[in-house]
C-alpha cells in the first residue's frame, strides 16, 4: 500500500530531503515490521468489532429507535429501566439456568467420552467420528430434527415412552421441561468439540509418566487421579471457559425450537435483546441490556481465569 508512494516521492521530489528522511524510513520500517502483517487484521477488527462495540455503547445511553428516530441522550435511564425490568430478570435467570445445566454435562460427558476413546477402544476412528459428527450439523438441522423427536403428539421419544406404557412428556410445551430439552439437544450437538479438545490433550500426556507409575504399582484409578486429571487441568480450564461463554450466548436453538416459549420459560437474554431491538425497535434499550450482559460475561470470565490461575500456582 505504502511502497508506491515512497518511490514516487523519491522520484519527483528529490530535493525535499527533510521530508524524505522523515517519512520514508517510517514507511520502510513499517513495511518490514510485524505491523504490516497485522494491519489487515487490525482494520477488519477495528471496523467490525471495535467500532460497533463503541457505537453500541454510545447507543445504550440514548433512546435511538430502529428507524433512527429519537437518539437523544438519556444517560443511565436505559440501564435503570433494565435493572427494574422483570422480563430482563426472567431472561437472565433462564440464561443462567441453561448455562448451568448445559455446561456441567458438556464438560463431564466430553471428558468421559475422551477417556473412553483414549483407553484403547477398538475402532477408534468410528468413535471419534460419531462423537464429533453432530457438531458439524447446522443449527437449523439440529433444531428441526429434535423438534420432531420432541413432538408431544407424534415425536419418536414419546412414542417410545408410550410403547412401554408411559405418559408422554411435553418436551417443548411444558414450562418445567422445555429448557432441559433444549439443553439436552445442545449437549448432543456440541459435546463433540470439547471431546476433541480433551482427546488431543490426552494424547499429549507423555507415556513415560504412566510407565513410571505402573512401575510404582499405581492402579488404573490412581493413574487417572494422579496423572491424567492433573495433566488435563489446563485443557479443563479452557474447555470450561469456552463452554461457559458459549452457553451464556445461547440463542439459535431456542429461537428455532421454542421462540422463548412456553410462557417465556426458555427466553434467553440474547433472545430478549433481539426481541427488544429488532421486533420492539428499541435499539438504545436493547444496547443497554446487551452491555449489562457483556459486563456479566466479563466478570464471570475474569473470576474463572483467576481461580484457574490460583489453582495452577
Amino acid at each position: 500500500m505504502s511502497a508506491p508512494t515512497v518511490t514516487r516521492g523519491q522520484d519527483t521530489a528529490p530535493r525535499s530531503r527533510g521530508e524524505q528522511v522523515a517519512s520514508a524510513p517510517l514507511l520502510q520500517r513499517l513495511a518490514g515490521s510485524p505491523w504490516s502483517f497485522l494491519l489487515p487484521f487490525l482494520l477488519v477488527y477495528g471496523a467490525f468489532l471495535l467500532w460497533p462495540l463503541l457505537r453500541g455503547f454510545w447507543l445504550s445511553f440514548t433512546d435511538t429507535a430502529l428507524n433512527g428516530s429519537g437518539g437523544a441522550f438519556v444517560g443511565l435511564a436505559n440501564y435503570a429501566e433494565a435493572l427494574g425490568d422483570p422480563m430482563m430478570w426472567n431472561a437472565l435467570g433462564n440464561t443462567a439456568f441453561f448455562t448451568v445445566i448445559s455446561t456441567v454435562p458438556l464438560v463431564l460427558i466430553a471428558l468421559a467420552m475422551a477417556l473412553l476413546v483414549h483407553s484403547g477402544l477398538p475402532g477408534q476412528w468410528l468413535w471419534r467420528l460419531s462423537f464429533f459428527l453432530p457438531f458439524l450439523l447446522p443449527v437449523a438441522t439440529v433444531a428441526l430434527v429434535w423438534k420432531f423427536l420432541y413432538n408431544q403428539d407424534f415425536g419418536l421419544i414419546n412414542q417410545f415412552i408410550g410403547f412401554f406404557g408411559g405418559e408422554g412428556v411435553g418436551w417443548l410445551s411444558d414450562t418445567g421441561v422445555a429448557m432441559w430439552s433444549i439443553a439436552l439437544t445442545t449437549v448432543w450437538w456440541t459435546v463433540g468439540f470439547n471431546f476433541l479438545l480433551y482427546l488431543a490433550a490426552l494424547q499429549s500426556i507423555p507415556d513415560h509418566l504412566y510407565e513410571a507409575a505402573a512401575i510404582d504399582g499405581a492402579g488404573a484409578w490412581a493413574r487417572l487421579r494422579s496423572i491424567t486429571l492433573p495433566q488435563l487441568r489446563g485443557t479443563t480450564v479452557v474447555v470450561c471457559v469456552l463452554q461457559l461463554l458459549a452457553s451464556l450466548k445461547v440463542f439459535d436453538q431456542i429461537y428455532l425450537m421454542t421462540m422463548g416459549g412456553p410462557q417465556d420459560s426458555t427466553r434467553s437474554l440474547l433472545l430478549y435483546v433481539y426481541d427488544v431491538g429488532f421486533t420492539g425497535y428499541r435499539f438504545g434499550y436493547s444496547a443497554a441490556v446487551s452491555y449489562l450482559f457483556l459486563a456479566i460475561v466479563v466478570v464471570i470470565s475474569i473470576v474463572q481465569l483467576r481461580l484457574a490461575a490460583r489453582r495452577r500456582a
Partner: protein, 456 residues
C-alpha cells in the same frame, strides 16, 4: 419468470445493468429457476430501462410455499398485461424479520417501490413516517378506488387523512373439519355442511362428540410456542362477545375482563387435555388434523392448499359463532409504498399501476384460500365457482381486525405476549390467572412509548 418474459420485450440495447447479478437476484432465482433467470438476464437484456417508457418496480413480499407460487403466477400475468412494467420481486421470510428489514430499508431511504404489509402493522409504520401515502387520483386512473373495498378494511388503511395501504386480501381465521368425522359426530346439516352452534356449551358438547368420532382428539388448536395462533383464536371469540378492546397510546387500555374470562373459560373447557389436547403446537395440530386424528381444526384459511391435498373429505366453514355475534380474527395483506428518500415520479406512477393491476388480478390469489379484498372479484361468477373458498368467504364480512396500536399486528411481540396469556389459561394457572395476566400485559403495552415516533 416475470423478468424472463420481459427480456424478450426489452430492446437489445438495454443490456446495461443486468450484469449486476446480485445476491438477492440469485436468491430470487432459486425460486424462479436460477439457471433460467441468470441466463435470461445475461442474454436477453433486462436493464433498468426495459422498454420505451418502461419503469422498474421493486416489490418485496413475504409469500413462500403455495402462496409464493401463486404470487409468481400473478406476476407472470401482470407481465403479459403490462409489458412496460419491469417488476423485480424479492421474497423475504415472513414475520418479525420481514418487518425489521422493511423498516430499515425505509429508514435508509432505499426502500423498494412497493411491498406487502399486514394491515394490522400499519399503525406502527404510517405514523412513524416509514411509508409514503398513495395518490388516490393516480390509483383511480388505473381503476381502483374506495368503492371497491369493504369500508371497514379501507378505513383501516388510512392515517391522518391520508391513505397508506391497498388491501389485496382478507385472511380470516376459519375452521377446517373432516366431513366423515363431523358426520359421525352428528354435526352436519342435511346439506352436508357444519351445523351452527347455539351456545358455548353446545360447542363443548360437540367437541366431546368429535373426540369420540375421531377416536383421538376433538378440536385441534396449535398454540404452544407459536407467536400468533393463541391471539387469533382469543381475539375472534372475544370479539364475538361484543366487548371492545382499545389500546390508546399512553393508556389506559380498554378491555372487558368478564368477556375475557368467558372466552378463557370456554377455551379451557374445550381444550381440557382429555377430549381435545391443550398443548399442541402449530405443526402438530396441522399434522394431527390432516392424519385424521382430530375432527376439527382452528386455523387460518391460508392452510387450505395444503389441507385440500392432505384431507380427502375436507370441509371448511367460517369460524363458528359461539357467543353473541359472528366475528373472526382477520388480517389483510396490503400493498404499501415504503418511504424512499428520493422517489422517482416515474417509478411511483409505475408502482401505483402495478398495485392496481395486482389487486384486480386477485382471483388467482383466491386460489391460495385468501378472500380477495377487491369486491368486483368477490362478486364475480368466477370467484363464486371457486369452491370451497366460497364456503367461508362470509368470514371476511365480519373481520375482527385487531386494535390499531403501534405495537400490535402480525409478527409483533404483542401477539406472542397474548399467546402467552392463552397458554396460561390452557396449560398454566387457568382462566382467572389469564385474565390478570391479560390485564397486566395490556397496561404494560399501552404504557410504552412508540420508539419509532419522533417525540415532540
Amino acid at each position: 419468470m416475470v423478468q424472463r418474459s420481459h427480456d424478450g420485450a426489452g430492446p437489445p440495447g438495454a443490456a446495461r445493468g443486468q450484469a449486476l447479478l446480485s445476491r438477492r437476484r440469485l436468491l430470487q432465482g432459486g425460486l424462479a429457476g436460477a439457471g433460467a433467470l441468470a441466463l435470461g438476464g445475461l442474454l436477453g437484456g433486462c436493464g433498468p430501462a426495459a422498454g420505451p417508457g418502461g419503469s422498474t418496480v421493486r416489490y418485496w413480499s413475504l409469500f413462500n410455499g403455495g402462496d409464493g407460487a401463486l404470487m409468481e403466477r400473478m406476476l407472470a400475468e401482470i407481465a403479459e398485461q403490462a409489458p412496460h412494467l419491469r417488476v423485480e420481486p424479492t421474497v423475504l421470510a415472513w414475520g418479525a424479520p420481514y418487518y425489521t428489514k422493511l423498516a430499515m430499508a425505509s429508514v435508509g431511504g432505499r426502500a423498494p417501490e412497493t411491498g406487502i404489509m399486514h394491515l394490522s402493522r400499519l399503525a406502527g409504520y404510517a405514523p412513524g413516517g416509514l411509508l409514503d401515502p398513495f395518490d388516490l387520483g393516480l390509483l383511480a386512473e388505473f381503476g381502483v378506488g374506495a368503492e371497491h373495498f369493504l369500508p371497514e378494511l379501507w378505513g383501516r388503511a388510512s392515517h391522518d387523512g391520508r391513505h397508506y395501504a391497498i388491501p389485496l386480501d382478507t385472511h380470516p381465521l376459519i375452521v377446517f373439519y373432516d366431513t366423515g368425522t363431523a358426520d359421525r359426530a352428528g354435526l352436519l346439516t342435511s346439506e352436508g355442511a357444519l351445523r351452527a352452534f347455539e351456545s358455548p356449551e353446545d360447542f363443548v358438547e360437540a367437541s366431546r362428540e368429535l373426540a369420540e368420532a375421531s377416536g383421538d382428539n376433538g378440536v385441534a388448536f396449535g398454540h404452544v410456542n407459536d407467536d400468533a395462533q393463541g391471539w387469533r383464536v382469543f381475539f375472534s371469540l372475544y370479539s364475538q362477545t361484543g366487548a371492545a378492546m382499545e389500546l390508546p397510546a399512553g393508556g389506559p387500555a380498554v378491555f372487558d375482563p368478564d368477556a375475557a374470562l368467558r372466552v378463557f373459560t370456554l377455551l379451557a373447557e374445550v381444550f381440557d387435555g382429555e377430549t381435545s389436547s391443550n398443548r399442541l403446537d402449530y405443526q402438530t395440530a396441522l399434522a394431527g388434523f390432516s392424519s385424521g386424528r382430530s375432527g376439527l381444526l382452528f386455523c387460518g384459511e391460508w392452510e387450505l392448499p395444503y389441507l385440500r391435498d392432505a384431507v380427502p373429505d375436507l370441509g371448511v366453514a367460517p369460524f363458528p359463532t359461539l357467543f353473541e355475534q359472528p366475528a373472526s380474527y382477520a388480517d389483510s395483506h396490503s400493498f404499501v409504498l415504503p418511504r424512499q428518500s428520493d422517489p422517482d415520479p416515474e417509478r411511483v406512477r409505475a408502482a401505483h399501476e402495478f398495485v392496481a393491476l395486482m389487486v384486480r388480478a386477485s382471483l388467482t390469489w383466491a386460489e391460495a384460500g385468501h378472500v380477495p379484498a377487491y369486491q368486483p372479484v368477490v362478486e364475480s361468477a368466477a370467484y363464486r365457482g371457486l369452491g370451497p373458498q366460497t364456503d367461508y368467504a362470509a368470514s371476511a364480512e365480519n373481520p375482527a381486525l385487531e386494535p390499531a396500536a403501534w405495537f400490535a399486528g402480525a409478527g409483533s411481540d404483542f401477539q406472542s405476549d397474548m399467546g402467552s396469556v392463552v397458554q396460561t389459561a390452557l396449560m398454566g394457572a387457568g382462566p382467572e390467572a389469564a385474565v390478570d395476566q391479560l390485564d397486566r400485559a395490556l397496561s404494560n403495552w399501552v404504557a410504552r412509548t412508540n420508539p419509532t415516533e419522533e417525540s415532540a
